[in-house]
């Protein structure tokens, strides 16, 4: 599948790769490291048109959402957004999502590769409820503008629009370059910025207008490689790496971020409550290499010559200059400073459990 900006990427020197069935730009000629640093220091623009987005509305929208996702949305005022999850009955993670409370509807943004599965799941749990589940992909295009200069870039594009008063994790409507867009102050980079739903018609023009407005502030388009290293430094989970149907929010350490166990009864709640009663066999940790080497998804984590876990994500972190990673280890070895090793091509390389995230942006207000 191709996003609406596919032709633009190819014409502008992007290297394309398959990502969950989507032909996406992994990098431009600038290169992943520079794209990564540009988002940390200035701003980057990402095509995220592949992301699934559903509009939930109708008299039973709240009742429906309380049932199918983990955050208690009665706490979510209009204009606010929150991270959440869709679980199966046994507490396994079907997807991690963002829920946005718009004026008279809810927006649910889901992972691209999970969108067909999620849509089927949600529809199958809507029976008997007066709720509409509408796929917004036909009428909207989605891009992410991320980095400390993101607000200044948008402000240059819409000098009269109020952006300063919008806090983090909000959703608002604004007009830029003649287009009415939904601005979400969310992202997947660990930097402040926006995820933008713009009208599908004319989206390439809008994309170009953002790049043009941002050029004086060193904005560049960024690919999936930078998106992945940025989210990994911020320890934001990637579906298929840190989380999947065989993992749960407790073991992934995501309960505080995504789940309200009290207040509403959602699918998977009982299973989670039961899991919480006994010690977890394994938990997700962050680690730093003490010997140089690149940990990668699927590598074994060892201790005392014994395999004690698996790497879910590993990388050279451009912002810190360190080789770091995340992975599941036996709970007894999850404490910060615990020494472990990562098995890289049969060699055991020293590593140490460290605090997460690996990098915290100084640009949060």
């Amino acid at each position: 599948m191709e996003t609406r900006l596919h032709g633009w990427h190819v014409a502008n020197g992007a290297r394309m790769v398959d990502f969950g069935g989507w032909d996406m730009p992994v990098q431009y000629e600038t290169g992943p490291r520079e794209e990564h640093m540009r988002v940390r220091e200035a701003a980057g623009l990402f095509d995220i048109d592949h992301m699934g987005r559903l509009e939930i509305s109708g008299p039973h929208a709240v009742e429906f959402l309380q049932r199918v996702q983990t955050w208690d949305i009665s706490l979510l005022k209009p204009g606010r957004a929150h991270y959440s999850m869709i679980l199966n009955d046994s507490g396994g993670i079907l997807d991690d999502i963002f829920v946005y409370h718009r004026t008279d509807s809810w927006l649910v943004v889901v992972n691209a590769s999970n969108a067909p599965k999620d849509t089927l799941w949600l529809k199958s749990h809507a029976s008997g409820l007066d709720v509409s589940i509408k796929d917004l992909r036909a009428e909207t295009c989605m891009a992410a503008l991320q980095g400390p200069a993101a607000r200044a870039v948008l402000q240059a594009l819409g000098p009269k629009e109020d952006l300063e008063s919008i806090g983090y994790h909000h959703v608002v409507e604004r007009t830029f370059a003649g287009a009415r867009v939904t601005l979400c102050t969310t992202g997947y980079t660990g930097e402040p910025g926006y995820e933008i739903l713009m009208p599908a018609q004319g989206c390439e023009k809008f994309w170009n207008a953002i790049l043009e407005a941002g050029a004086p502030r060193r904005l560049i388009p960024c690919g999936l490689a930078a998106r992945d290293s940025l989210r990994a430094e911020a320890c934001l989970p990637l579906y298929g790496n840190e989380i999947d149907e065989t993992t749960d929010p407790l073991s992934a350490g995501l309960v505080r971020a995504a789940v309200r166990l009290e207040g509403h009864d959602f699918i998977g709640r009982r299973a989670l409550a039961a899991l919480a009663l006994s010690p977890l066999p394994r938990v997700l940790v962050g680690f730093e290499m003490k010997e140089p080497g690149v940990p990668r998804h699927g590598y074994s984590i060892a201790s005392g010559g014994r395999v004690v876990g698996k790497v879910t994500t590993g990388l050279f972190s451009p912002s810190t200059g360190k080789y770091v990673g995340m992975g599941y280890v036996e709970t007894g070895l999850a404490g910060v400073d615990t020494e472990v090793s990562i098995v890289i091509r049969d060699a055991h390389k020293a590593a140490q459990v460290v605090e997460r995230p690996f990098y915290t942006s100084p640009h949060w207000r």
């Binding site: 290297r15 992994v26 490291r33 490689a225 290293s229 140089p292 690149v294 990668r296 050279f316 080789y323």
Partner: protein, 129 residues
């Protein structure tokens, strides 16, 4: 896309280069190879004294994408390693024919050089890819 081709070195089909200096040879990867790899983040060099065999994997370059093997273009024992790559693996990207060199070997079979492509042959080889 245009790639730099150093006129003074010999090339393998797997995009390694060799520069002969007396009875020794310096080995690296070409500009084309570094571009395909994307940003290099780690180079695992063989230890000094290791015997490399022409055509066999001799070291690993890790890029942001994946770990890729480098094949020895000639046989010989390792007499020098580019230690600068430990702190600055990106030299393989920025200066593949210069500061981004990988290892220096004492040639075991000097005649192996003749089976490698010269710059003109490598340039036409690149045009077929």
């Amino acid at each position: 896309m245009e790639f730099k081709v150093d006129q003074k070195v010999r090339y393998s089909k797997t995009h390694e280069w060799v520069r002969v200096e007396g009875g020794e040879a310096v080995i690296g990867i070409s500009d084309y190879a570094q571009n395909k790899l994307s940003d290099v983040v780690f180079v695992e060099l063989p230890p000094a004294g290791k015997e490399l065999k022409a055509g066999a994997a001799c070291l690993v370059i890790e890029s942001v994408k994946a770990a890729e093997e480098v094949f020895a273009p000639v046989s010989g024992s390792v007499v020098g390693r580019n230690e600068a790559l430990e702190k600055s693996p990106e030299l393989v990207n920025s200066d593949p024919f210069g500061q981004g060199w990988l290892v220096r070997v004492k040639l075991a079979v000097p005649a192996e050089i003749d089976s490698l492509m010269d710059a003109a042959a490598y340039t036409s080889y690149l045009s077929t890819l």
